[in-house]
């Protein structure tokens, strides 16, 4: 008797072929749009990064490695010597530093918050999570603007402090690295709480109880039992915060006041006033590469973690 479910038989082969045709027919429109407005443009950006800048923006179709050179190096216009590009390096450094600090800040506020929500009675948890999700769905520009209102010189915080007599002059908080950090923690916090909560909700508290029964202190239980078990959520949250922080454009632009640039603003500058599209393209690809390295490191750690924690 032949096994009709076996793919080698002619009939099953036909069915399989038909299913495959239908599948690609269904996928074709999505892939077409994405090829046209996502993947394709990305490849063109890569090509642009090895061309010569045009005089008024755009490019001249002539291969050149200058853009990639200029990402971190600069050539002296008088004696042609090469040196590190301090301007670019300091912006890269600021971006990485602020993104790491944002991630740490989000963990500091997010971890206890996620723990708090996960330990509420079941019917309350959805309500608390909704309170986290609503800001996440609110326009990033509006949220940044709301923080600006709070900390600007004529803002609520300074007005309040002066009214109570604590200070005589407004404290300059806006347009500093500090304000960008505050803004980014504020904006990206929900992205940290969501995956942390997801892994804490599954936490088996009988393990915590067992720890206490064996005379472990709270600190020890947190370090030895809770943290290892919710680590995947913490790592996922960190990546979700770190990646958009690195490419942040709106928050540093609104809160940095033009002199605290991050990579995203530097890229924009090359397409605007800088009129150096190839350099802008090369910087974009560099940013993408850093993000991909971070994502790959994440997939690696997440992959290692998964089997151990079921």
């Amino acid at each position: 008797m032949t096994d009709i479910s076996h793919p080698a038989t002619p009939l099953a082969n036909d069915v399989e072929k038909r299913a495959s045709r239908v599948r690609w027919l269904l996928l074709a429109p999505v892939l077409l749009v994405l090829l046209f407005a996502a993947s394709g443009p990305l490849l063109i950006t890569l090509v642009y990064s090895i061309l010569t800048p045009g005089e008024y923006g755009g490019v001249i179709w002539q291969p050149s490695a200058d853009a990639w050179f200029n990402v971190i190096l600069q050539r002296d216009i008088f004696d042609d010597t090469l040196s590190w590009s301090d301007a670019h390096l300091s912006i890269f450094w600021r971006s990485v530093k602020l993104s790491l600090m944002t991630t740490v800040g989000c963990i500091v506020f997010g971890f206890p918050t996620a723990y708090f929500i996960a330990t509420r009675p079941k019917h309350q948890r959805d309500m608390w999570m909704l309170l986290i999700i609503i800001p996440f769905w609110t326009n990033i520009l509006i949220r940044t603007f709301a923080v600006v209102e709070l900390i600007r010189n004529e803002g609520t915080l300074n007005t309040l402090l002066m009214w109570t007599g604590i200070i005589d002059e407004p404290i300059q908080m806006l347009f500093t690295e500090f304000s960008i950090l505050v803004g980014m923690i504020y904006v990206y916090l929900p992205l940290m709480v969501l995956p942390m909560y997801a892994s804490m909700e599954r936490l088996d508290f009988s393990l915590v109880e067992a720890g206490y029964d064996l005379y472990a202190t709270r600190m020890r239980v947190l370090k030895r039992i809770i943290l290892p078990l919710v680590k995947p959520g913490v790592i996922a949250g960190s990546i979700l915060v770190f990646v958009p922080s690195l490419g942040a454009y709106v928050t540093p632009r609104v809160m940095g006041g033009g002199n605290q640039l991050m990579i995203g603003n530097l890229i924009e500058l090359q397409f605007g006033q800088g009129r150096n599209w190839p350099l802008g393209a090369a910087l974009s690809i560099t940013l993408l590469a850093i993000v991909m390295v971070a994502l790959m490191a994440y997939v690696r750690t997440a992959g290692d973690e998964a089997p151990r924690h079921g």
Binding site: A37, T113, T119, T138, N139, L141, Y249
Partner: protein, 266 residues
């Protein structure tokens, strides 16, 4: 009796959580409150008034930006949701296939590539097309928004399809219903909460987008968020607060409806 030892308690955690919620909502509350301020200040309260809502309503630029935002969000969410339904059917109703990981990578690309990189890539590509064709209409923005809305529409629809009971579809097929009939009579009616949830998510995502719109738009194609970004460079009046409050209201309504829809039993 002594207070029961609470194993879930961690010292200081409740305080930090409380601080987090207060800090999370205080700026938003202030923003909403000052949209009703009768004075021009966004820090000194001078009494209740609707004047900034009226002034935003009467502002021709705001009117045009609002219509443009809504038109783009309507088309982008409509198209991306339709495409996402097809893609979700293709990736949940058939078994593992060759090229699957490439398909997933492409669908999720807008989520993984930093927005500024996508924005720049679209600027370059669309600039080429604009030079070649001379067309500078809204279509670029609609296509760009459609592309980055696709993963947001796809995820809830896929989740719903995976959670569905296949027995009904199989029963219908056994009764000789052609595949399209099975889809319209059995699958679609069960799928609609997922579709609606995906469409709403896409709509809000499109309505809120700043970066990609800022780079792709041609002259005079401001949407509400890019109009506001432009305003922030000048003197800010509570008019921006009023516009923000309305957008905030839309987001809150959508997220509550989205949560309710996602919870509907299959």
């Amino acid at each position: 009796m002594a207070k029961r030892f609470d194993i879930q308690h961690m010292p200081g955690f409740k305080t930090i959580a409380a601080v987090t919620f207060v800090l999370l909502y205080m700026p938003i509350f202030l923003l909403v409150i000052y949209s009703f301020n009768s004075g021009t200040s966004i820090a000194i309260w001078e009494g209740f008034s609707w004047r900034w809502y009226v002034s935003a309503w009467d502002n021709q630029q705001v009117q045009e930006a609002t219509v443009r935002s809504l038109v783009i969000a309507f088309w982008a969410s409509g198209i991306s949701t339709t495409l996402a339904v097809l893609a979700a059917l293709a990736t949940t109703r058939t078994r593992k296939f060759k090229g699957q990981s490439v398909v997933f990578a492409m669908i999720n690309q807008p989520l993984m590539v930093p927005e500024i990189v996508t924005a720049v890539a679209l600027l370059i590509f669309f600039a080429m097309i604009k030079v070649a064709t001379g067309y500078t209409g809204l279509l670029y923005l609609i296509i760009a928004h459609t592309a980055f809305c696709i993963p947001f529409a796809y995820l809830p629809i896929r989740a719903r399809l995976i959670g569905m009971d296949l027995a009904l579809e199989q029963a219908a097929a056994d009764l000789y219903a052609p595949p399209f009939r099975v889809f319209t009579r059995i699958t679609l009616p069960q799928l609609w909460p997922g579709i609606l949830a995906g469409a709403m998510l896409a709509f809000v995502i499109s309505l809120d987008d700043v970066v990609i719109t800022e780079f792709v738009k041609s002259a005079g194609q401001d949407t509400l968020p890019t109009y506001m970004l432009g305003q922030l460079r000048r003197v800010v009046t509570p008019e921006v607060n009023a516009i923000s409050t309305v957008l905030l209201g839309i987001s809150v309504t959508m997220v509550v409806a989205f949560t309710a829809l996602s919870k509907l039993k299959t």
